[in-house]
Symmetry: C2
């Protein structure tokens, strides 16, 4: 089991240095203390830790989820052992400024590291990553007083943090939350309500937990413009000591995956003595959350890739080792059975996984790199462009690994045959883990609305034109930097045509909206999302194929040549097999096909 | 939870009497004692029992799988209560002749009943259904002596039966089994070996279990031509009493679904005293199994539909009841939230499920009806044609519900949002159950080889021409019997074109094979299977749409009109959304796309 690389070192190096040119980021002042060697070290230390320390605990934590007793929850013993090491690896603040104890690493490098750690055991990484997100909210929006006592313990890992958004009656519709916060004095409020699906909402890894909680103040406008953000600690500081703050984990959800990371119902203020601190201004809570949304959704994408990658490598290894059946051309039963990787359909399932996993990885890292430029670029125009393109890509980064990753995980199980259907083998657990990613941080349906409504049409095509320009650059790059591989021309041509078609369909839909028919415009938003996912990943495969072709033209070692040929095959697979499907989805968007709008509730 | 209809009564009546014309079968002598009323009663009694008795036990049996202790396994208490009632419902022998205690029911009706029972709790139905399959093998191939003592106790349900085929090193490759059987005298053999994944291989529902076991006799030819079939009872009769037969359940597999039905490793002859009885002739075991294959694979298809149907109705009910969010055209937060069925993407997910579930149901029943004609038709030519078409459809019936049903089950979970990701809700359990269906009784990859190699090309296109003829009849029928619905013309035209394309691609592939390039011919066999699945289900949707259109033209009640309009919408959905995908799969078959053949093992 330990021989699963999760993500190979060669792949990580390829992505960072041959595809996404991480060292170029060191030209930006924020990253100027770094160079290729610190990036290399960061990722390789994480990868080694993931393989040697995290992955061996994965199954045990999946099999023994923590149990809630009387409001208290003790995590798996392995989590206690691993948590301090994860802090050392910088999961709390690697990308944050030196001023708050961070290392000013690019997200590109940090997310590559986090991704391989998640591939080893996603549940355990959830604790520090959630804290990091909560701390980042405080760093960005909290006043000095709140930051002075809450931020340091979170960034050091002594306290944990959560996102407490969803309520039982308001899952995706955060404007409908009803948790109440009434002013005591200054920025202190009395909080009362209930939150559900709070990951790491209770545990014994840290002495305290700060819940970043959405609530309404009296007289707040209805809906999303009346939601405020509060920091509500499990224990509050009084006279320098931590005392209970009248909030309580009342129920643990029996999640089907990520079982090492508890998900809880939290009740606030049963005794009317739960105090929360307002973060930023009242009624701006959702806008603060939205500002952090890109980063949060990239993390979901990274998890989707991580989960699919671990399963891909597990099934690849199984396919190489498991003898079963014979070649179609030589079925002599007196000969020994062949490894199942010899069978065409098994190879198809492996190559499909590879195309999804590595395409998704490149996509996630492309988004992370845009985030680096958006946050730390030196030219305002470059920052704005990066932010705009990142906004467009965010629903793709969130969705592609989740949806295609789920398919990929199902193939990993399928390759294991009857054994895959048992919990004696790992693929079924990754399949369970993966399913969360199409649900949390906005379901796939919501990502489709976001992409089409807000990102593609809402900004009048600005971001979409940036994507088209990036694709055009990739096509030119393919011609220039790998002159001997003219197979790339066909890929580039197909990609340009698909992108043009995407632009045309977007225009058609925008026109429908402009004439007031928003329902027709948005009807096939999930198909629009699917099409865009496939096209964007084709773009990443063209970039990877170009890097591979360049590598092949540079007298590579035998192992490198094999690596590059594999990339070229996967790129071909994606363009031949998947890209045409994008066109089908776009046709549906344009077609006026309305069967599912037309059917009435009582006709199902 | 009990309000889940599993499959609605209206749907069952539609399928049996408006689509598949069950009463017409009564013209065949074997079924002549039956009429519409006995069919109605059979199915409605089963449906009521499934909803009221089986479904309420489903979750409990899933949560508490039986545990193996020292070779013995006690099933869930609910199984003891339900098992005798399942026998009363005829799960052992409803279709068998009066002579062996059967009811001579058509498979069409029997499978409709079994399907709704499986939707209620598939695991519990597994016990009698496995016994029924084993008994059928004995009825068909055993000599009079073996039948005299083994058949009656199995057909009465006092004994259970299993299929003991797979071995740890020979999962799909049954020609490689190594279990040995050496002659004692007459038809008695000493058996030694080990079998894995034996469903119902040990339990306490019956006083004995007969394992239909594949083994080799000394000197048997290598491979599949040297495999014989034995009946190996857990206890053997000696002097009128049952004594242990030296076989033992040594391990229970921790399956991820169907958890109420144990799956075991069975060791034979540890003390060299395990006796088996040869069934039929030596070395013909696999051919006997193959003769039962159509029926076994139809049962897998029925289970796939059942599992998807239960989940579909659960998510439909949830979508009707769960308020969340608002319409795109009216987002006033002061208004109450809308039921999620109002959201376009939720409706899309529901209609997709409906199209898969009901398309799959019609397909399974079409196959069952062909089985009835093949087995009990009065004209030899009609029998032969039915058998040939059934052979072609069998890999489709096996695969479509499994693969599309898994997607459908994932959508049911997705509609439940965060709740769907918890085991507090049912959809996740059906998703787990469903995954088995793409693996057992021949994986999807193997079905693709069977369809393209044996069924489509192997018989020189005979079966494919029968399918084309059946499709042509359906198109004519659409024009004749529903003259007012000219929307059907477009569906019929699209279907005819798709079928022609399927024929053309098959010819191209056959030519590749004829020139010796079997690898190219078979490379995309799974794509060929996918395309054929979609086309065949489109055929079923045309037949259903025609019946619905006919219904709408006949002054239906308000409820019936709604039912029929739902059918028409689902048919339109399938043709507009899914059928074009079939053409993409066919293009891949023809294209020579070889990325996954070209990539070498070390290039992944």
């Amino acid at each position: 089991m330990n021989s699963n690389p999760l993500v190979t070192d060669r792949e990580l190096a390829f992505q960072l240095f041959e595809v996404h040119d991480a060292p170029a980021l060191c030209a930006l002042p924020y990253f100027s203390d770094h160079d290729r060697s610190t990036f290399d070290m960061t990722v390789s230390v994480a990868a080694r830790f993931a393989r040697e320390q995290l992955f061996p605990t994965y199954k045990a934590m999946d099999e023994s989820p923590p149990v809630l007793h009387d409001g208290h929850l003790a995590v798996h013993p392995a989590a206690h052992r691993l948590y301090p090491k994860l802090l050392e690896l910088g999961l709390l603040s690697a990308t944050r400024p030196y001023a708050v104890g961070g290392q000013q690493l690019p997200s590109l490098v940090s997310i590559a590291s986090q991704l391989v750690l998640m591939a080893g055991n996603a549940a355990i990484t959830g604790f520090p990553l959630l804290t990091s997100g909560a701390a980042h909210l405080l760093e960005r929006f909290a006043d000095a007083d709140l930051a002075s006592w809450a931020l340091e313990p979170m960034l050091s890992g002594r306290w944990g943090g959560t996102m407490a958004l969803t309520e039982p009656h308001a899952g995706s519709s955060l404007g409908d939350i009803t948790t109440q916060a009434t002013l005591l004095e200054g920025r202190r409020y009395r909080v009362r309500g209930s939150k559900i699906f709070i990951s790491a909402g209770e545990h014994d890894l840290t002495e305290n937990i700060v819940h970043m909680t959405l609530a309404r103040v009296p007289g707040a406008p209805a809906g999303s413009r009346g939601v405020s953000l509060f920091a509500v600690p499990k224990r509050r500081l009084e006279g320098g000591a931590l005392v209970p703050n009248d909030l309580r984990a009342s129920q643990a959800i029996h999640k089907i995956g990520w079982r090492g990371l508890p998900s809880l119902v939290i009740d606030y203020g049963d005794a009317d003595d739960c105090i929360g601190w307002l973060v930023g201004e009242p009624n701006k809570g959702l806008s603060y959350m939205f500002e952090m949304m890109n980063a949060a959704r990239i993390m979901v994408g990274a998890n989707g890739v991580a989960t699919a990658s671990a399963a891909y490598h597990q099934s690849l290894q199984y396919a190489l080792e498991r003898p079963q059946g014979r070649a179609l051309s030589d079925r002599d039963p007196a000969q020994p059975q062949r490894a199942i990787i010899e069978h065409a359909d098994v190879r198809r399932m492996l190559l499909r996984q590879k195309a999804i996993v590595e395409g998704g990885l490149s996509l996630v890292l492309a988004a992370a790199r845009l985030d680096d430029v958006a946050s730390h670029g030196v030219e305002a125009s470059a920052q704005a462009e990066a932010l705009s393109l990142l906004g467009l890509l965010t629903p793709i980064v969130k969705t592609f690994p989740a949806e295609w990753g789920f398919e990929s995980n199902a193939l990993a199980l399928q390759i294991h045959g009857g054994y895959g259907y048992s919990s004696e083998y790992l693929p079924e657990s990754w399949l369970r883990d993966q399913k969360l990613n199409s649900i949390h941080e906005g379901t796939t349906g919501i990502q489709g609305l976001d992409l089409l409504g807000r990102k593609a049409i809402g900004d009048r095509g600005v971001a979409l034109r940036l994507l088209a320009a990036a694709i055009q650059r990739a096509v030119l790059q393919a011609a220039e930097s790998a002159p001997e591989d003219r197979g790339l021309d066909a890929l580039g041509g197909a990609l340009m045509r698909a992108m043009e078609r995407l632009g045309g369909v977007t225009m058609t839909l925008a026109m429908k909206g402009a004439t007031g028919d928003v329902a027709s415009m948005m009807r096939h938003s999930t198909d629009y999302l699917s099409a865009t996912c496939i096209i964007v990943v084709a773009w990443q495969w063209l970039v990877m194929a170009t890097a591979a072709a360049r590598g092949l033209e540079g007298a590579p070692s035998k192992a490198d040549a094999a690596f590059y040929r594999g990339k070229r095959a996967a790129a071909d697979y994606w363009f031949r097999t998947e890209l045409p499907r994008a066109l089908r989805h776009l046709e549906l968007c344009e077609s006026g096909e309305d069967s599912f709008s037309r059917i009435e509730k009582d006709e199902f």
